[in-house]
């Protein structure tokens, strides 16, 4: 057998039946092996799109996403997506072809130092020097991608290694990633803080669902009733019927969530990392709070905010261990009042479509287990504010890197991971154009992905900042010469419809959901609509600007 065939056999050993990629010279032996393989390859139209599909597949399913690219430009096109997976802790294995070792280091055609490029954007990376190392290296890649805090791993395979003969029997693979070291030594100290707290808040990040600790979280919040807030990646972690959930915190968080965190005396951080979009001015963040920090990554403890008590390891074991009795009924009443006082309002005047209301309607109309893949910008924050999710695996949003162009290919990956579920991408007119070529992937595989383009003919979030903080100098944010998005979709055999008025929304959503195939809904909104509330740069989270104050 050739090295190229061995690659696919090892992938199959790891349960991989779906890969995303794009062929090219240095990876042709692997593509030749794919020709007769039972692994299904989905041809993307740009390697960045293929890797985002692998991320969408991984995030929607919890499995490892696999993508492939050739050397040189194929590999460099993966870099943005790998960085995205790195910052959002997504288990991805990227396989790149490399020029033959005989010419490596000679600036050969389509040669670039992929191992060198990978250092800053992967959890780990390998260059396979011999076919004898190939199976073990790929096994290691799958282990590393999933172990502890997940992340992307790149395996660079020179063409001569792909073409080399090997007759070795495949070794049985071990599932070593379940071996997580957990220290409960500080559990008693955590329980003491929770029992003594008068104003506790649970601050929930993506680490909870990635640890498969959703049930333990609901039990913790039931045993220790307290207000909870989530990060962008943690959305959907708290059960929809939990009355003490206050929404997302941070720059565009709810006022209730931000005020509760600013006023709390104990912040229980569960699988989150005090990102600057969460904390605002760090010196003024949760100024009265002691912190309990639970994470699987030791490097996150005391990185940004000092924790009085830290617990490292498996969230599933830690949450029951820190559960205790707490009585904070006055605080719960106060936070309920905040939630009531600062609830969303949808009574936007005029006939034009108000995106928050549209997204609320979309959220209420979509089937319960639908996946929503967002792009990046104003629409992304509106989705986070106005849609509800029953699981973080149903809300795919580029959190750490904030990568425009994420949504459409991530939705493709999600649809292939969960063909039985409705998959919607909510995108903006700026973001959509960043990976619009993936419409061809939807066309080729007849993927019934629903595409909602929220179009304000602007790079809306940048425009909003220019309006508020750069004296209304709208530098390079005008997109009023956008293409006709419905005609563009039609070019890929995807039907669509354009709406401009509120009274068209209900029927348009119905038409989109009842159409059996892919569908594009082009939603024109007012370019003056902005995302509120907003914590301005350098401010504390209680200093939110609201629409009324703007």
């Amino acid at each position: 057998m050739k090295g190229a065939e061995l690659v696919l056999k090892v992938l199959q050993q790891h349960g991989v039946d779906t890969v995303f990629g794009y062929p090219g010279g240095a990876i042709m032996p692997i593509y030749d092996a794919l020709y007769q393989s039972s692994i299904k390859h989905y041809l993307c139209r740009h390697e960045q799109g293929g890797a985002f599909s692998a991320i969408g597949y991984a995030r929607a399913s919890g499995k490892v996403g696999v993508c492939m690219a050739t050397s040189g430009p194929g590999a460099t096109n993966l870099i943005t997506s790998l960085a995205d997976a790195m910052l959002d802790s997504v288990p991805v294995v990227a396989i790149t072809g490399q020029v033959s070792q005989a010419v490596m280091g000679s600036d050969a055609f389509q040669e670039v130092d992929v191992l060198g490029l990978s250092l800053a954007v992967t959890k780990h990376s390998f260059m396979v020097r011999s076919v004898d190392e190939l199976a073990a290296t790929l096994n290691e890649a799958f282990t590393i991608a999933q172990a502890g805090r997940p992340g992307p791993v790149l395996v660079d395979i020179p063409k001569d290694v792909q073409l080399a003969d090997i007759d070795a029997e495949l070794q049985a693979i071990s599932k070593s990633n379940s071996n997580i070291q957990t220290s409960l030594a500080n559990a008693a100290a955590a329980r003491k803080l929770i029992a003594a707290a008068k104003k506790p808040v649970a601050y929930i990040g993506g680490g909870v669902h990635m640890a498969d600790a959703m049930n333990q979280l609901q039990q913790f919040l039931a045993s220790n009733p307290m207000p909870s807030v989530t990060t962008l990646k943690g959305m959907g972690s708290v059960a929809k019927d939990n009355e003490h959930y206050l929404g997302m915190l941070g720059m565009h968080g709810t006022q209730a969530a931000n005020l509760a965190v600013q006023q709390c005396d104990l912040l229980i951080c569960l699988g989150a990392r005090f990102d600057d979009r969460v904390t605002g001015n760090l010196q003024k963040f949760a100024p009265l709070a002691k912190v309990i920090h639970v994470d699987i990554d030791p490097a996150e403890i005391n990185k940004v905010r000092f924790a009085q008590v830290a617990l490292l390891g498996d969230m599933k074991q830690i949450l029951p261990a820190i559960s205790t009795q707490n009585n904070c009924s006055d605080w719960l009443t106060h936070c309920a009042q905040l939630k009531q006082q600062y609830g969303w309002r949808y009574d936007h005047p005029g006939e034009r479509i108000y995106a928050p209301l549209l997204l609320k309607q979309l959220s209420e109309r979509m089937p319960d287990n639908s996946v929503v893949a967002c792009d990046v910008g104003q629409h992304q924050m509106w989705v986070a504010q106005h849609m509800r999710f029953s699981s973080p695996r149903n809300h795919l949003s580029s959190g750490g890197l904030g990568t425009m162009g994420f949504g459409l290919p991530a939705a493709i990956g999600a649809k292939l991971a969960r063909p039985q579920d409705t998959v919607i991408t909510v995108t903006g007119d700026g973001s959509f154009m960043m990976n619009v070529q993936e419409l061809a992937t939807i066309k080729r595989f007849r993927l019934p992905v629903k595409i909602v383009v929220i179009d304000n003919q602007r790079l809306g979030m940048v425009k909003q900042w220019q309006q508020l903080f750069f004296n209304e100098r709208y530098s390079e944010t005008d997109l009023s010469d956008n293409p006709d998005f419905v005609a563009l979709a039609a070019a890929f055999a995807i039907p669509g419809h354009c709406i401009t008025r509120k009274d068209e929304v209900t029927d348009a959503l119905e038409a989109m959901f009842t159409w059996p195939g892919p569908y594009l809904l082009h939603v024109c909104i007012d370019d003056k609509d902005n995302v509120w509330p907003l914590v301005p740069p350098g401010a504390a989270n209680e200093e939110m600007i609201t629409e009324a104050k703007a």
Partner: protein
């Protein structure tokens, strides 16, 4: 502040680059580097660095590197950071 880190790592082709990339990105300056390959396919590396931030912000990131087997901060009780 100056710090000396004694590191045992897998002797892989990119291991020194990985250490230096993390050191630079996390905001520390390299002031010295020594390395000695061992017979067991590991390498002993001594990194001297300076930086204004607390050194645990660097040691915790270096320790996360897959190729780093052991990391000690010379003259300190801060040793290996793990669960």
């Amino acid at each position: 502040m100056n710090h000396v880190l004694n590191i045992t790592a897998n002797n892989t082709p990119a291991v020194v680059e990985r250490l230096l990339q993390v050191t630079r990105y996390r905001g520390y300056q390299l002031t010295g580097l020594e390395m000695k390959p061992r017979s067991d396919r590991s390498v002993a590396i001594t990194l001297s660095v300076s930086g204004d931030k607390p050194i645990h912000l660097l040691t915790s990131q270096l320790h996360k590197l897959y190729d780093v087997v052991q990391l000690e901060l010379a003259g300190s009780e801060l040793a290996v950071l793990s669960a």
